[in-house]
């Protein structure tokens, strides 16, 4: 429809503006045009290096990870038909984080950098599969959510154990900071590591829109219309663990984007779960770019982590959502 085409234009514009702003803003303000020209000419000027080695990877990773989180949040909410669902619900985020912390703990990633994202992805997949097997093949959504809670608790316990056993306060600090969610000091190499599974997850989610729309009428009606709800579940769960696993591996735990963004944008796409997918991907990218600019602007003695900022903004929003839905049902 014409009305939401405008919304896509708007969101795309916002993402582009934030992307450019993310390149320009920082401790060292960049004259973008000059820096780009210098970089293009292959010069070794400080500005060219800041742009290509620091700002560009940071902005691109925020863009990709944010889009993944927004997209996966919308897909999970559509699949579970619940506005309180999030990509972390089926354990993929905490599974990824646990495996990543595990790898960090044993310091393998220092020698083999690709181990970290691969381990995180495996953790995400494993958590998802365990949730699915625990819940059983024809599980109700409540059972799935409960299984997700259990796996989340297990992964968190595992992380606590590693922190507890960490040999030095410095190691603890490193692990904790990583779990807070952070996009500083990332290279283009990190982007290349996250991209393959991210794109795989995106591709798996592309084209489920119509099926998620049909699911609005409940699983039974959707099934009578030729959709196989069990297959759809697997497809979405696995896609989410690919995309979210890759995002968590690269930027750590960044909460609330997958929850808040789909909810904010839903009214603008007529509440249709399918059309919410691309909108949420753009919205998620915009939100993470904005949050990452925010942590650079907000003056604190110790640099603020981006995951902390999204949680600070997101948690009150989550509370409002619960109060709202309570009002609706009472």
């Amino acid at each position: 429809m014409a009305s939401d085409r405008y919304m896509y234009y708007w969101l795309t514009t916002v993402v582009l503006v934030l992307f450019v702003a993310s390149l320009a803003i920082g401790r060292e303000p960049l004259p973008l045009l000059a820096a780009t020209v210098a970089w293009w000419q292959g010069s070794d000027s400080v500005h060219a290096i800041i742009l290509s080695q620091i700002r560009l990877p940071r902005a691109l990773i925020a863009l990709v990870a944010g889009a993944s989180l927004g997209l996966c949040g919308a897909a999970m909410q559509g699949l579970l038909r619940n506005p309180l669902a999030s990509p972390g619900l089926v354990g993929s985020a905490s599974g990824a984080a646990f495996f990543a912390v595990f790898v960090l703990y044993f310091g393998v990633s220092a020698t083999l950098p690709w181990i970290l994202p691969v381990a995180a992805m495996c953790g995400a997949l494993l958590a998802t599969v365990v949730v699915y097997l625990m819940a059983g093949r024809n599980a109700s959504i409540t059972t799935l959510i409960l299984a997700g809670v259990a796996v989340n608790a297990l992964a968190t316990a595992g992380m606590s154990l590693l922190l507890n056993l960490a040999p030095s306060p410095f190691a603890v600090r490193e692990l904790v900071l990583w779990t807070l969610g952070d996009i500083t000091d990332r290279s283009l190499g990190d982007l290349w590591l996250m991209l393959p599974t991210t794109v795989l997850g995106w591709l798996m989610l592309a084209g489920v829109g119509g099926q998620l729309d049909t699911l609005t009428l409940g699983e039974r009606t959707a099934q009578s219309m030729g959709i196989r709800p069990q297959w759809l579940r697997w497809r979405v769960f696995i896609a989410v663990s690919f995309a979210v696993g890759a995002a968590v591996a690269t930027v750590g735990m960044i909460g609330f984007i997958g929850l808040v963004v789909p909810h904010l944008l839903r009214p603008y796409v007529g509440f249709q779960p399918g059309r919410l997918l691309p909108a949420s991907a753009l919205g998620g990218a915009a939100m993470l770019l904005a949050a990452d600019i925010g942590v650079r602007i907000i003056p604190t003695d110790t640099p603020l982590k981006v995951g902390v900022l999204t949680a600070l903004v997101g948690a009150p929003f989550f509370l409002r959502l619960i109060v709202q839905s309570r009002r609706e049902y009472m």
Binding site: G209, G210, D213, L217, S224, M225, G226, F271
Partner: protein
């Protein structure tokens, strides 16, 4: 066009459907009646592809239902739930548009032909004034009509409707039965679960009467809705008549001692 042979379904050691066969031929509106728990809804789930029978076979257009791809079945056959959920506050028009989904490719948007089918379905079910309304705010009856419109929008050949008039007011009961009547023409057929026996008698070409998972009577409404059957299956005494329209009223619960035998000759009250 839709045939079921020797369907058996048990769940948790309880027999829900016991050796049921039925035949739905083109141009027919067939009613499936029976008291609560008789298994009418469960039986409807089988051709809808929601439940796999433990034994027996279902064929659609002389082809085994299990050999038909789910997507193809979704185009040919539509099922209307007794009280289907609507999970997001979509507009009524968008809900009805979902009925076209089985005909559309992954990336395809509804075209002119789809829009015509949607408009026709909305008009037939008297939902025109609800078009732009939030579907989650509808009354029970309006929602039933919207869900029927969703099914009709898919232009199926076989319509399976589970108590489509239970929540409707008198006018819309008649309107909906008229819609089903008109639907069941040419190469289309409709199987409908009904509780209102007067309307069943008046609109259906034939009836299947179910009791405790089995079919105890079948045929033209007048043959099925006999005082004897109604006393043994529904356990009520009825009065009925054949005026301009056939009517049937339950007068009082039947005396236990008079509920002796069903058409199968078994003692139902004693089971």
């Amino acid at each position: 066009m839709l045939q079921a042979q020797g369907i058996h379904i048990s769940r948790g050691g309880r027999k829900l459907i016991n050796d049921v066969s039925l035949d739905l031929s083109a141009g027919k509106l067939v009613g499936l009646i029976g008291p609560n728990g008789a298994g009418t809804s469960t039986l409807l789930d089988v051709p809808a592809g929601l439940v796999r029978a433990d034994a027996g076979s279902v064929s659609l257009h002389n082809k085994d239902l299990h050999r038909i791809a789910a997507s193809e079945r979704g185009r040919v056959l539509a099922w209307v739930a007794q009280s289907g959920p609507v999970n997001w506050p979509l507009t009524v028009e968008r809900i009805v548009t979902l009925g076209r989904r089985p005909h559309l490719g992954t990336w395809q948007q509804p075209s002119g032909e789809d829009k015509r089918a949607i408009d026709a379905a909305i008009a037939a079910t008297d939902c025109e004034h609800l078009r732009r309304q939030d579907a989650t705010t509808l009354s029970g009856g309006e929602r039933t009509r919207m869900l029927l419109a969703r099914a009709l929008a898919g232009e199926p050949k076989v319509l399976l409707a589970d108590e489509p008039i239970a929540a409707l007011d008198l006018k819309h009961q008649l309107q909906t039965m008229d819609v089903l009547r008109r639907f069941a023409a040419d190469d289309r057929a409709c199987l409908v679960v009904l509780h209102d026996l007067s309307l069943a008698a008046r609109y259906c070409d034939s009836l299947y009467l179910m009791h405790e998972g089995s079919i105890v009577a079948q045929g033209a409404p007048a043959e099925v809705l006999t005082e004897h059957h109604l006393r043994s299956v529904y356990e009520v005494e009825v009065e009925s008549g054949q005026g301009q329209v056939p009517w049937l009223v339950a007068v009082r619960p039947a005396e236990k001692s008079s509920v002796v035998s069903s058409s199968t000759g078994e003692d139902i009250a004693g089971r």
